[in-house]
């Protein structure tokens, strides 16, 4: 890892007497791209996380190229109803006469989309709240503490159901909003405690002595030191978002006309798929949800090693 940090243009090689002529602009701590590639390489070096990345990659590819992969459209319902598996319809058809394989393939789009957007948004909220909360002191911190605690004690699923039912048929954006609303508090609390421990470090005091403003200290000095925690928080939030979306759709409070793994389960349940022997209707989307969630959890194992070289070395034993 360390060698990569040394790679960028070795300024010493430019034989120049006038310092003004070399690299006039400032180099940041490390470009985002380099941070990203290094992060992926670190995660890749962990066996469990590698498996997770592969599974996640497959799902993302399926979601992106769904129209090419799926044999039929997602809501094309011109086929016979409740047909068992055959060469034309591998997993059979639903009670409404749709092809199950195509639905599973298109369903990946919703889950992956919700996972990434809701995961990103709730991580973003968690980072903003957690870092400023960890850095400020006094009454403001108490107010934030109260609000975060409020969101932590509210039981997530009932709140989701109430909000989703209230804003019925708002489609995907509403589901994402609900998931973000209920999912950011835990991450904020974790990031806050890390911020508090980092703000006691000398380099933060040193930045104050260097005349830096609070915002710059929080987001330029402290934030980059929490990369692994934020990445971990993202994968956790994305998993929660995927499961929440599936749960809401399964309960029928989402938009039941969208084809997602959750709504497939909802319709399968409605048409008593188990009783008619079409267990694949429940099994296929259920397994996909489980696999996607598992892949994200597996990636989280590798994230632990991002900023902790000890764990990285311990893995060799």
């Amino acid at each position: 890892m360390t060698t990569q940090a040394m790679l960028p243009e070795s300024t010493g090689s430019t034989p120049s007497t006038d310092p003004a002529t070399v690299v006039p602009h400032l180099r940041g701590p490390a470009s985002p791209w380099r941070v990203l590639t290094r992060a992926v390489a670190t995660i890749w070096s962990n066996k469990k996380a590698r498996l997770g990345l592969v599974v996640l990659g497959v799902f993302v590819l399926v979601a992106v190229f769904a129209p090419l992969i799926a044999p039929y459209g997602a809501s094309v319902n011109g086929f016979g109803r409740n047909q068992p598996g055959s060469s034309a319809h591998w997993f059979g058809t639903t009670a409404a006469g749709e092809d199950v394989v195509s639905q599973v393939v298109f369903g990946a789009r919703v889950s992956v989309l919700v996972g990434f957007i809701a995961g990103t948004l709730s991580t973003l909220v968690a980072v903003l709240v957690g870092l400023s909360w960890g850095y400020v002191r006094g009454p403001v911190a108490d107010v934030i503490n109260f609000i975060v605690n409020l969101f932590l004690v509210i039981p997530g699923l009932p709140l989701m159901i109430v909000v989703a039912a209230y804003l019925r048929n708002g489609g995907l954006p509403i589901i994402i909003l609900v998931v973000v609303l209920t999912g950011w508090a835990w991450g904020a609390r974790v990031l806050r405690s890390q911020t508090q421990s980092l703000r006691g470090r000398d380099f933060v005091t040193a930045a104050q002595f260097a005349g830096e403003g609070s915002w710059r200290i929080v987001f330029r000095e402290i934030l980059p030191n929490m990369t692994s925690l934020i990445a971990g928080s993202f994968f956790g939030a994305a998993t929660a978002a995927i499961l929440a979306e599936a749960g809401l759709s399964f309960l029928g409070v989402g938009d039941t006309t969208t084809v997602s793994w959750g709504s497939m389960l909802f319709w399968a349940q409605n048409s008593n798929a188990i009783l008619t022997g079409q267990w694949v209707l429940l099994f296929a989307p259920g397994l996909c949800i489980a696999l996607l969630a598992t892949s994200l959890t597996l990636i989280n194992f590798g994230v632990d090693g991002l900023s902790n070289p000890r764990l990285r070395e311990g893995a060799g034993r």
Partner: protein, 560 residues
């Protein structure tokens, strides 16, 4: 036959996805029964790795890659875990540097002893109480500590407990890995005395691993010096002191001096030592033409007291600083010395406006520091900068040296872009980090401790301050690097005419770089005056105690 015979031992670190590093190379030595041997080296010399290897405590990624360790006639380099566990009773034990943190916080001290007795079954059940009591008394602790929990004991007491725990297995060989490094100066001295007495009384074989040649020479009869993974010298203590063979040993020795001596010299600081002598004689403000701008504001601390809220409900508040007054004249260098808890760092916080005094006032020029708000503090910091104790945590690990140095330049001056960059490179030249272009692009982990501390100093100088507050700037550095950093601080002070408040527990460095000194004990000033005067003719018992606690290689010479 020797108790321990190590032949051609090599230890290699094989971290995941990185080049293997040979920490110990072909080490060969023997320990006779009842011998007290020292193992000295600077950080990265492989001394701890060797200590861990001979007690078979090496953990991945470290691996014994070759050689054999004959303990009492049998090779322990390759024995299995269970056999090794049994071997620990009556075999070899180790006391760790952070041994005080090795105790389980939720179990009483008696439980710790009980666990060991139960695991090895070498003490009959009915005698365990008596044995535990006997052991803690050996390390000069009252028997009452047995019923207490680690959190209720001080660092020194916990380290004594861990020594007693190591003793409970009646080892033939004890390895002490920096047993006092994490302790306060005065406590260090007391714990070392205990270890010496114990070794003499119990007559076990002991290996003392330390970075401090002074401590080792004071205690041991034979010393092995380690450098870059190799044992470069192995000789009786007296010979190491009076006739060191290896150049590295000579270099280490040259960094010890007695702060009480008439003339104190360290490599690179010799001239300064002589200057102190002249200014000490005349008891005057240091003279000398200053090339740079003169610091023009004095820091006046007037009858300052700082109370911290009580640690537990119902107890008295903690008095960190107790009615302290002093004046730091422009261009002066003053040392604040004392053991930990003496309030010296609190004074630094009060002077820099990080904390506010409970009563009294701190004035800098026309400003009352304790009343400053955010903007005022910023202006204060333009003139007053800090050099931090720990160079490993004072630099953001993700920022390049250039970025770290550019920030204060941009924040406190009108320089931008190319001009700011030129100023950064100039700063790097000032602190001697050349070639500057290369150092500017480096990240902290690519620098050594001494280089990092130079970056920290450069950052403090970036806004051309009037005052430097140096909080133990060399205590985390290896002996051989200290003189360089101290010389740099001193040169800069004279060159730029800044005043300096130098906070330390190390009286030798205080003697070398300051003109005036204040000795603090429990928040009170017990003695103050011209540095050379105070250290040569101390009046207060506490100052004498601090002076006595400094390891003196020469004392070993007398004993041997």
């Amino acid at each position: 036959m020797s108790l321990l015979e190590v032949t051609d031992l090599s230890v290699v670190y094989e971290p995941h996805g990185a080049e293997p590093t040979y920490a110990v190379r072909n080490a060969s030595f023997a320990l006779e029964r009842g011998e007290f041997v020292g193992l000295v080296g600077e950080s990265g010399s492989g001394k701890s790795t060797l200590g861990f290897a001979i007690t078979r405590l090496s953990k991945a990624p470290a691996r014994i890659s070759g050689g054999c360790i004959l303990f009492d006639g049998r090779d322990i380099a390759g024995i299995e875990a269970e056999e090794l566990r049994r071997q620990r009773q009556g075999g070899f034990a180790m006391v760790l540097q952070s041994g005080m943190n090795a105790l389980n916080p939720v179990r009483s001290i008696r439980n710790h002893f009980g666990d060991i007795f139960a695991a090895h079954g070498h003490v009959p059940r009915d005698k365990r109480r008596a044995r535990a009591r006997e052991l803690v008394e050996k390390v000069e602790l009252p028997a009452s500590v047995l019923d207490r929990y680690p959190g209720e004991l001080s660092g020194g007491m916990r380290q004594r407990v861990s020594i007693a725990l190591a003793l409970s297995l009646e080892p033939q060989l004890m390895v002490f890995d920096e047993p006092t490094t994490a302790l306060d100066v005065l406590v260090q001295h007391a714990v070392m005395n205990t270890i010496r007495d114990l070794q003499r009384a119990e007559n076990f074989t002991a290996l003392l691993v330390s970075h401090d040649l002074g401590v080792v020479l004071e205690s041991t009869s034979r010393v092995m010096v380690m450098h870059d993974g190799e044992i470069v010298e192995d000789a009786p203590a007296a010979q190491i002191l009076h006739a060191p063979q290896h150049e590295y040993t000579r270099m280490l020795l040259s960094h010890y001096a007695d702060p009480r001596a008439e003339v104190v010299e360290l490599p690179g600081l010799a001239v300064r030592g002589a200057t102190i002598e002249t200014s000490g004689g005349s008891v005057a403000v240091p003279s000398g033409g200053r090339a740079g701008r003169l610091a023009h504001s004095a820091i006046v601390v007037d009858d300052v007291t700082k109370l911290y809220p009580p640690p537990r409900r119902g107890e008295d508040p903690v008095t960190a600083v107790d009615h302290v007054s002093f004046t730091l004249e422009p261009g002066q260098a003053m040392a604040l010395v004392g053991a930990s808890g003496s309030g010296k760092s609190t004074i630094a916080k009060l002077v820099t406006g990080v904390e506010r005094p409970t009563s009294g006032s701190v004035r800098f020029g026309d400003d009352r520091v304790e009343t400053l708000k955010r903007r005022g503090l910023r202006d204060l910091r333009r003139e007053m900068q800090m050099v931090f104790q720990d160079p490993y945590s004072a630099l953001n690990p993700l920022n390049t040296v250039e970025y770290t140095l550019t920030r204060p330049v941009v924040n406190y001056s009108a320089l931008r872009g190319v001009d700011a960059r030129r100023r950064v490179l100039e700063l790097l030249t000032t602190v001697g980090l050349t070639p500057v272009e290369q150092f500017a692009a480096k990240l902290p982990h690519q620098l050594s401790g001494g280089q990092r501390q130079r970056v920290v100093i450069a950052r403090a100088l970036a806004c051309d301050p009037q005052v430097l507050i140096a909080d133990e700037p060399v205590s985390m550095l290896d002996v051989s690097l200290r003189a360089g950093v101290l010389a740099l601080l001193d040169d800069l002070r004279v060159q730029f005419g800044v005043s300096m408040l130098y906070i330390t527990h190390d009286l030798l460095s205080a003697r070398l770089v300051t003109d005036h000194i204040m000795v603090l004990n429990r928040g009170r000033v017990v003695e103050s005056g011209v540095t050379a005067q105070v250290l040569r003719f101390p009046k207060d018992a506490y100052t004498v105690e601090l002076l006595d606690a400094i390891p003196q290689p020469a004392r070993a010479g007398g004993a041997a």
